[in-house]
């Protein structure tokens, strides 16, 4: 049994497609067996709503009179990168105002940053724009202070260089002081553990060999329609063999793009992460076509079958030693406690499972009711078989220069 994208899209158009969320597929394949579930189901929808730091938006403001080639840009006091053409800038999710006390008052609160600017923009709130320049013959103006809003600017394109991590570390702290990380507050001596994927609902977990998701895949992004633009930065998917179990590594990532103007502040939330910085929670949902039994097998993997590496953020992680202390299942992580070295450790998610479920259900409704069709990737992304190894950045003295 093999299905094609064309066949699935025909069924969507004629209202005959069977679309289920990843959690519904799990139930279905337990009830009817994998083969029948694979034959019946055409599309599986996934979802995740979690902090995704590597996010931001390209904005194009429109020209002033006289013209300015904006060299420095601030939006509500948060600096945006303006080293591109005249009135274009990129606001990154983790940027904070120049006068933020940062971690001087440890742990810093980071009340407002780039992620909040993006959320305010999407919510339609006015944003203060300040720009400076040096003046040229063609762009004589040297400064401007005004207000903009999403409706008034020409383009607003969400472009997130690295989102939707395939899998992610479960963070613990083996040191003897509390640490404040992008994985939350971690108490000493492994008193708590935080994890951050939606497990059985998570997009890349359901397509670990990247057979369905590729460049051009149309997705749910921030409440609107978006696309996979490329692989995410640091994309290095892997399949590990841990005690005879096939474990999906943490390396697969996606670069995502979409028109910010049709997104929603409900699915793009500015975050203040104590002691770490500002960020953005991004809602992402990816449809996965069930082309054959193999795609159904991976899409039906459940929390009991999916494992996260437990990593010590007290010392190992900051020192670039990401070694896993052990692997724990998402079923255990979601139960509220895991066992590490025979010790019971309480767990908490950082990624919203109820919202992930809502995204998967919304995407399902889009396909069934609004004619959202699947796109066949125009280019495949590197898969675990490509064995990408990430390079490290070393100082000259380490290189022996």
């Amino acid at each position: 049994m093999e299905k094609t994208y064309e066949e699935i899209n025909e069924k969507i158009k004629s209202g005959k497609a069977v679309v289920v969320t990843a959690e519904e597929l799990i139930g279905l394949s337990e009830e009817k067996g994998l083969s029948r579930a694979a034959a019946e189901v055409d599309v599986v929808t996934t979802g995740t709503f979690a902090p995704m730091c590597s996010s931001g938006a390209f904005l194009s403001f429109g020209h002033t009179s006289p013209r300015i080639r904006m060299q420095k840009v601030w939006l509500n006091g948060v600096s945006a990168y303006a080293g591109i053409a005249a009135v274009d800038a990129y606001i990154g999710a983790t940027e904070v105002p120049d006068d933020d006390p940062l971690n001087k008052n440890y742990p810093g609160g980071f009340p407002y940053g780039g992620g909040h600017v993006i959320q305010d923009l999407v919510a339609g709130r006015p944003i203060k724009l300040k720009a400076l320049s040096y003046g040229t013959d063609c762009y004589p103006r040297k400064d401007i202070e005004t207000e903009i809003s999403l409706d008034e600017i020409n383009e607003a394109i969400l472009f997130n260089p690295r989102n939707a991590y395939q899998n992610y570390n479960c963070a613990v702290n083996l040191s003897d002081r509390t640490v404040y990380t992008y994985m939350g507050m971690l108490r000493p001596h492994m008193e708590n553990a935080n994890f951050s994927t939606s497990g059985q609902l998570s997009p890349l977990f359901k397509d670990p060999h990247l057979k369905a998701i590729g460049v051009g895949t149309k997705i749910f992004l921030g409440g609107g329609v978006g696309y996979v633009a490329w692989n995410g930065t640091q994309h290095s998917p892997s399949m590990l063999n841990i005690d005879g179990k096939e474990v999906c590594g943490s390396g697969g990532t996606l670069a995502l793009i979409g028109d910010l103007k049709q997104m929603s502040p409900k699915w793009l939330a500015g975050l203040s992460i104590l002691g770490y910085g500002a960020s953005l929670a991004v809602g992402v949902g990816v449809p996965i076509p069930i082309l054959n039994e193999e795609s159904a097998y991976y899409a039906a993997l459940k929390d009991e079958d999916l494992y996260a590496p437990v990593v010590n953020y007290g010392t190992d992680y900051p020192a670039r030693e990401g070694k896993a202390l052990c692997y724990v299942s998402y079923a255990d992580l979601k139960s509220g406690k895991i066992s590490v070295d025979d010790r019971e450790v309480r767990t908490a998610p950082l990624s919203s499972i109820p919202k992930a479920r809502e995204i998967a259900a919304t995407l399902k409704a889009w396909i069934l009711e609004s004619g959202f069709l699947l796109t066949k990737p125009v280019k495949s992304l590197a898969s675990p078989e490509d064995q990408i190894k990430l390079n490290f950045l070393n100082e000259n003295k380490e290189k022996g220069v």
Binding site: F49, A50, P51, G109, P111, G184, M185, R187, N192, A193, N194, A269, G270, L271, S272, I273, L274, S279, A281, K334, S335, G336, R346, T347, A348, P349, L350, S351, S352, I353, P354, K355
Partner: protein, 133 residues
């Protein structure tokens, strides 16, 4: 004299009855027990209305015995629109007032268990937890 509502929390090995008696006897306080919750497995909790000149001294005496004293003139609220049910707060809340429901993984808030430690207020990434005076 204005009375004050307070919540006491104590380990089960602190026997409370004589302690309350001392508040009345040694510190001249008028004490009205509004709620007492003594569960053998857990920490005990008592809500009191107290008034008297030496109120603060009396409360300091309790603190000296290791009793957590918390004034009820502040409360913690959750802004339901802002909360996106990430669950981050459930890992730090010391009393389980913020907890995950299974299997939905929705984050619930039981105000009765909140000791107003303020940790979630600092930690919540979208500032959904607020202190109200």
């Amino acid at each position: 004299m204005k009375s004050k509502m307070i919540v006491l929390r104590f380990d089960m090995d602190t026997s409370v009855k004589p302690v309350i008696y001392r508040l009345v006897k040694d510190y001249d306080l008028v004490v009205n027990i509004a709620q007492a919750n003594v569960n053998p497995q857990k920490r005990g909790k008592m809500v009191l209305e107290v008034s008297g000149e030496k109120c603060e001294e009396g409360l300091d005496y309790l603190r000296g015995l290791g009793v957590t004293v918390q004034s009820l003139d502040r409360e913690i609220r959750r802004d339901e629109d802002k909360c996106f049910m990430c669950g981050a707060c459930t890992g730090v809340c010391p009393t389980g007032a913020l907890y995950l429901r299974h299997p939905s993984m929705e984050v619930a808030f039981d105000e009765n268990n909140c000791i107003i430690c303020g940790l979630c207020v600092k930690l919540c990434p979208v500032k959904a937890m607020e202190v109200r005076l």
